[in-house]
Subunit: 114 residues, 2 copies
DNA sequence: TCATAATATTAGCAATAACTAATAATAGAA
DNA sequence: TTCTATTATTAGTTATTGCTAATATTATGA
């Protein structure tokens, strides 16, 4: 079928590899999955992921520095959201592979499972 | 747009994370990109990636054990190919993000760049 | 201002992962 | 069988990454 596709140039492979490593970590991926739905503050993400404050904060910081996330202060809370739509797409693509049954909920007739 | 998408269950996140880590490594990703085009033997992959025999072999072995690759002996050579189409899809998705200009070569008019 | 809640940062340790060098295994050729 | 080419495996070292505990910062409220 697509056996003509070319291999990616070295610098692009490196960039892709960095991007993948950034989201491959279990906690970071979990955060991204949650943020796919809506922006959340750190406390909410702690609750949702079960991770410690410090650890989570470090991973959020890492993703922010990489341009994957952006944050916005509201009072004492800091809300995070996915800044780069490419990563949202990647995570959606992942879901299609690892959770195919979840991927039709919002696009197809959602009456099927109530 | 798809703000209704649910977050992936914990065990699926773990599986996705493992899958991502498997392909996130620069050398492994490079190998996958090459194998996207056609099966290749170890010597060819050494040439294509510039990696050492031992190192490459270890990464090939890892991907084989994870079910990403399969190999086939032809004489003294061992040819590798992508065994799991999901990973081929993932790498193609990556290419769409990191190398959008390469992604139309085989599907659209390829006369554009000769 | 002082106290508290939410988040960020730092340092140090623990766990993983990757690489190199050496050696082993296997297939084919002489 | 012996030699060579190809690939695999192992052991040991180095590098990277992640985690915890402690501390700092920032905003809010009393």
């Amino acid at each position: 079928m697509s056996h003509l596709s070319q291999s990616i140039p070295k610098d692009k492979v490196r960039a892709a590899s960095e991007g993948l490593r950034a989201i491959a970590h279990e906690l970071r991926l979990s955060v991204l999955c949650h943020l796919l739905a809506e922006p959340m503050c750190v406390a909410e993400l702690m609750e949702a992921t079960g991770s410690s404050q410090s650890n989570l904060s470090q991973h959020l910081s890492k993703m922010r520095l990489m341009g994957i996330l952006q944050n916005e202060k509201r009072g004492q809370q800091v809300y995070y959201h996915i800044a780069n739509p490419a990563f949202a797409e990647l995570v959606e693509a992942l879901k299609k592979i690892y959770c195919p049954e979840m991927c039709f909920v919002d696009t197809e007739k959602k009456t099927r499972e109530g």
